[in-house]
Amino acid sequence: MTILHAEKLGFHYQPEQAIFKGLTLTLASGEIHTILGPNGVGKSTLLKCLVGVQPPNEGQITLDDQHLNQLSPRQRARKLAFVPQVNASSTNVSLTVFDYVLLGRTPYQGLLATPTLQDRHQCEQLLAQLSLTAFSQRSFAALSGGQQQLVMIARALLQEPDLIILDEPTSALDLGNQVRVLKLINQLQQQGYGILLTTHDPNLALMLGGAVSLFTTVGGFETGPVQTTLTSEKLSQAYQTPICVTTVAEQQRQICFIASDFSV
């Protein structure tokens, strides 16, 4: 059981302009936590703090009771994996899918070592589990957004982490691929991984369940279970748009929709 805990986190580029302040959240193995909020409220910055790439200005982050900044990158990477957003800078890599996923073994390699036969075997097995074997010799850069996202998740899994943090895992994907990724995330949670992800789609959080943290535009931050945190009222306030949360009878599931009138 691995626990990532952030206590009273604060971050700012200029002291008078806080991106966020006094933010507390916990992620443990087997849990799912969605961070929700409009564009530009600091979701990506928060993730960078949580994975140890950006030190926060205030507060502290611990991974299994050890300060995150006192762990070596290698120790961190064995417990905590990060899946970046599918975008130009992270995807312009023309390694084959196999070689790309194999990079997940980095935390287990010495500085001057190359992956062993066992590492390669493990990589093959993982690709097979995720039905990616057919792509394994294709160039990563030439894949579609959905395939790239799955391959990035595969790379994170090869790190054998306990916790996986994903930055907007569905934002670049069409509906079919979104569902594929969501199902995979659900499966991973059931297998015992702790999952934290950001999104700006409240429906995603409603589908995934678990805990949710809602950033509001005014700098507030609220954490709680999905059912009580994602209400029409709170969402409307966060996005400054009338949003309605309702239950779809046939599906026995909650969805949210925009309740404003489009006919101007």
Binding site: P73, R74, V93, T106, Q159
Partner: protein, 334 residues
């Protein structure tokens, strides 16, 4: 795309053939059986060939051939490493000012009327100091971004070119100026055992370490956040690659003078043969670089009675080769 093992086997075979040809070619053409007899004698397997042949082969050709192979390999792998590190396919090993710094060091020593061994030492020092300067400029700018380092390298190169210009202006136009110009065009004419042996350890060790580091270069292809969350000590890995590639390039350049094109073109040739995986590109580029420079240097000393400077030949052969490579890979150059 063939496997690395196959590619390495065929290219090593080609290297051995080129090596034998290079030993046999030159102003005095020695028959192949003499060359083989000489190599056998080196391994204490056969009797020595004639004294003249042994002298030519051991004292003139062998150190030069070894230098050509090591320098070609060194420039090719530091080029590969820099292209991966800076995420830029158009980068060559002199990006951070090594070559210009070495040229300034050499020119300074020539002005002081130093011996060729001292010129070599000054060049080595100049190359290392220029890169150190570039790294310090980046530090002054308080950023760790790759792009600032590239900028610092351009600044340093520009400054070194100015100093070089000044030295050339001050140089005696009959004796020193041609020597400086000739040095800048690159040549292995002056390589002897005495000049080769002092830099040999640094050249081999830094090259071997960089080859051992090859798989990590793939990690460095990713962006900052990914590199660090994958458990790589980003600053350390980057500093190590820059340090090793710089030592390798400086050791090469101080022996031969500036040689263009190899560090830029050979990595692409290797990628064309084996794909983008830097762990495979690096060893293959080393062998291809060794073949390429050995071939060029053999041509340089055999084509005419005088020595043809290396950069002229690498340019004449490298330019069309590069155009062809870009044409072949046009999809991948982004």
């Amino acid at each position: 795309m063939k496997s690395l093992r196959k590619q390495l086997f065929f290219s090593s075979l080609l290297l051995i053939i080129t090596f034998l040809l290079a030993l046999s070619a030159g102003r005095i053409v020695l028959p192949l059986h003499t060359v083989l007899q000489f190599l056998g004698h080196l391994l204490h397997l056969s009797a020595a060939p004639s004294a003249l042949a042994t002298n030519v082969l051991f004292n003139l050709r062998l150190p030069r051939i070894i230098a050509a192979m090591l320098i070609g390999a060194g420039l090719a792998i530091s080029g590969t490493a820099f292209q991966a590190l800076f995420h830029n396919p158009l980068v060559s090993p002199d990006l951070l000012g090594v070559s210009n710094g070495a040229a300034v060091g050499a020119a300074g020593a020539i002005l002081l009327g130093a011996t060729s061994l001292k010129i070599q030492g000054f060049a080595l020092l100049g190359g290392l100091l220029a890169v150190l300067g570039a790294v310090l400029i980046q530090r002054l700018l308080h950023t760790k971004a790759n792009l600032t380092l590239v900028l610092a390298g351009i600044i340093m190169s520009g400054f070194m070119q100015a100093v070089l210009g000044l030295f050339k202006y001050m140089a005696d136009p009959d004796e020193q100026l041609p020597t400086i110009t000739y040095w800048q065009l690159g040549s292995l004419e002056k390589v002897t055992w005495d000049s080769l042996i002092p830099v040999l350890p640094a050249l081999i060790i830094s090259g071997a370490l960089l080859i051992a580091f090859r798989w990590r270069l793939n990690v460095l292809l990713l962006d900052d956040t990914e590199i660090r969350t994958l458990g790589s000590h980003y600053q350390l890995d980057r500093a190590l690659v820059i340090l090793l590639a710089t030592i390798l390039t400086a050791c090469s350049v101080c022996l031969s003078g500036t040689i263009g094109w190899i560090g830029l073109v050979i990595p692409h040739a290797a990628r064309l043969l084996i794909g983008q995986n830097e762990a495979k590109v690096l060893p293959l580029a080393a062998v291809l670089g060794a073949i390429f420079l050995l071939l060029i240097d053999t041509l340089a000393r055999s084509l005419s009675t005088g020595e043809i400077p290396l950069s002229i030949l690498t340019g004449f052969i490298g330019t069309p080769l590069f155009v062809w490579l870009i044409f072949k890979k046009r999809v991948n150059i982004t």
